[in-house]
Symmetry: C2
Subunit: 360 residues, 2 copies
């Protein structure tokens, strides 16, 4: 069942991850960064899928800024399968494009969609859900993995399953509804209910099923993609450059999942998932010393606790400071209160307004 | 009266200023650092004395680590007058040595002693006390400048003048007593009394008077210094290397000032003196922006106030942080709570214990 002949993986790696500035840059975004191991997030994504998807079955969609670094980090993935989108157009056009290409290569293709910038600390447990997800997709279903919520997060969408479900079951459940990011009160209700799960952007389907759904719910994008020549055609790239920017800028959740009737999902149990949303999330994921500090690089701390320090090229001395995020790079240094790590993206927006391309 | 023919200046520049780590290093100590202008502290010291002491009348005592940088910074001071002490032996031997040399050059020499690492924001007002101090010294007195205390500082020694003095008088007052660093209660009493002044280490005397006092109160050191050949003698340097380490390790305050009978002083009024004791003192001395931040170099601040940032080679982004001292150098980065800037020296001690000579 594993490494089945028509299974493919699509890794979506076009994000910027500005919250990880100043480490993350346009040409060195979150997914190619290492957080505490020696493998980047995208390398870990390929690594953990290896038991079910050999690298030659992996396709990656990214952008022009990042493609070179991803090719460098993933020599095991065929270079031709690491594609730069001609424009940023959200997940529906990107996934549609990949489905279109795979369908032209293998009419029986079943694809899994995987974000490039998440962490999963228990990959074996994770694969115990990936395998039945591929199986349900092979049977014609649109499949989603739900993550058991651990707090009332307002930054994620939710999947509503039927009441009375059995968490961790390897049997797919019908999805009652997809829910957009809720407010805190609603999120709290979701978490208490027991049948609402986080939508972590992990999907499975036959490419033919996905393309049918796109034709039904996003006819414009479907028509544009259908107009493309075969992937092996010389003109593919130039035609794509013209067609892709005209695709509708919409998420696959909104374009297909919320509308399609044949959606099922798995109410998974803990496989150590994290979307690593900020430097604070990295801090929470890594082992801490006796004073709750995390040091990447050499440090000397006095009366200091709860700090995350990432400065690989120099010694960092802390004196009487608490709960800071300190990220040093050759041309930029960030010092932030850890509780405000979510706002680092706002600093990047300011730099954009100031046209500081040298720091982006 | 100014630039009188027998007036000389001795600048004591042997300190390390470890509280200014990581900017201050053994070969780049506090006195050669620039804090908000384009002149270092020792350059400012020479500059402000220029109306009363031309550079060719300035002598500087420092150490082997620092001499090269001081020679580089002060091309106007004759190189032969910038001396490295063969060992660190506190102020009495250093001042005795300078007096011995000057006396051999000019039997009528009157010397002023000036720390190299203080700031004086109103130099013209300062000189209004330096001139009468030289005059009193020429008349055979041992002279000290007292600084009107602005708070009950426990880190300085105090000079006790007679009660009922008139602050700012250009007439020398008899010194009743020198007082060692007091505890807070005593310091508070001193400040309230009105006749206790800070001892800032600025002294004036005829070299003959100082050498007489040394012979009386520190005969061992006096004898060692008297055994040296003339400064112009070829053997001076090698003889000094042997003699100097045997001098008593004692301050001029303890060795002479507290014991001599003919000590007078000036109860000066504000000439903007600061001994720049820590990064926090630098912060207090410099102009701040609307959020009370001081930036040396490029910065991007959001919800951040009261910070001192010194990072000339990169952009520093602050997010939600308060009252920090942030000093970035190529091989070390300091992040300290501003209220604890006094303890930076303790971090340096730790580095010494770890034999981190590369960072000292």
């Amino acid at each position: 069942m594993s490494r089945a002949s028509s299974h493919y993986g699509l890794i979506l790696a076009g994000g910027r991850g500005t919250r990880f500035w100043p480490r993350s840059r346009r040409s060195h975004a979150k997914q190619v960064l290492r957080f505490g191991g020696d493998r980047s997030l995208i390398q870990q994504t390929v690594d953990r899928l290896r038991p079910v998807l050999p690298p030659e079955r992996i396709w990656i969609l990214t952008n022009d800024h990042l493609r070179a670094e991803i090719v460098r980090q993933l020599p095991e993935v065929p270079k031709a399968q690491i594609l730069a989108e001609p424009a940023q157009r959200n997940t529906a056009p990107a996934i549609g494009l990949a489905a279109h290409i795979l369908q032209s290569i293998d009419a029986n293709a079943v694809m899994g969609v995987f974000p490039a910038d998440h962490m999963i600390s228990k990959p074996a447990k994770y694969l115990q859900f990936v395998r039945p997800a591929f199986k349900a997709a092979s049977a014609g279903k649109i499949v989603v993995l739900g993550i058991q919520p651990r707090w009332p997060e307002t930054g994620y969408g939710y999947i509503e399953f039927p009441k009375g479900l059995k968490p961790g079951s390897r049997q797919p459940l019908p999805v009652r509804q997809f829910r957009e990011k809720p407010d805190l009160k609603t999120a709290t209700r979701y978490v208490r209910s027991g049948n609402f799960y986080w939508n972590a952007g992990m999907f499975f389907w036959k490419t033919s099923v996905l393309l049918d759904a796109l034709r039904e719910f996003q006819p414009k994008t479907a028509t544009l993609l259908a107009s493309l020549p075969a992937f092996t055609d010389r003109q593919f790239s130039s035609k794509l450059k013209h067609a892709f920017p005209n695709c509708e800028n919409v998420s696959i959740d909104y374009a297909v999942l919320e509308k399609a009737p044949n959606v099922v999902g798995f109410a998974t149990t803990d496989f150590g998932w994290s979307d690593v949303g900020s430097w604070n999330a990295v801090y929470e994921l890594l082992p801490r010393d006796a004073n709750a500090n995390v040091f990447r690089g050499e440090a000397l701390a006095h009366s200091s606790s709860g700090n995350y320090v990432d400065a690989e090229r120099k010694l960092v001395a802390l004196l009487g400071v608490k709960d800071l995020v300190i990220i040093d790079t050759p041309d930029a240094l960030l010092i932030a209160d850890r509780s405000r790590a979510q706002e680092v993206g706002d600093l990047v927006k300011k730099l954009e307004q100031q046209n500081r391309d040298d720091l982006l």
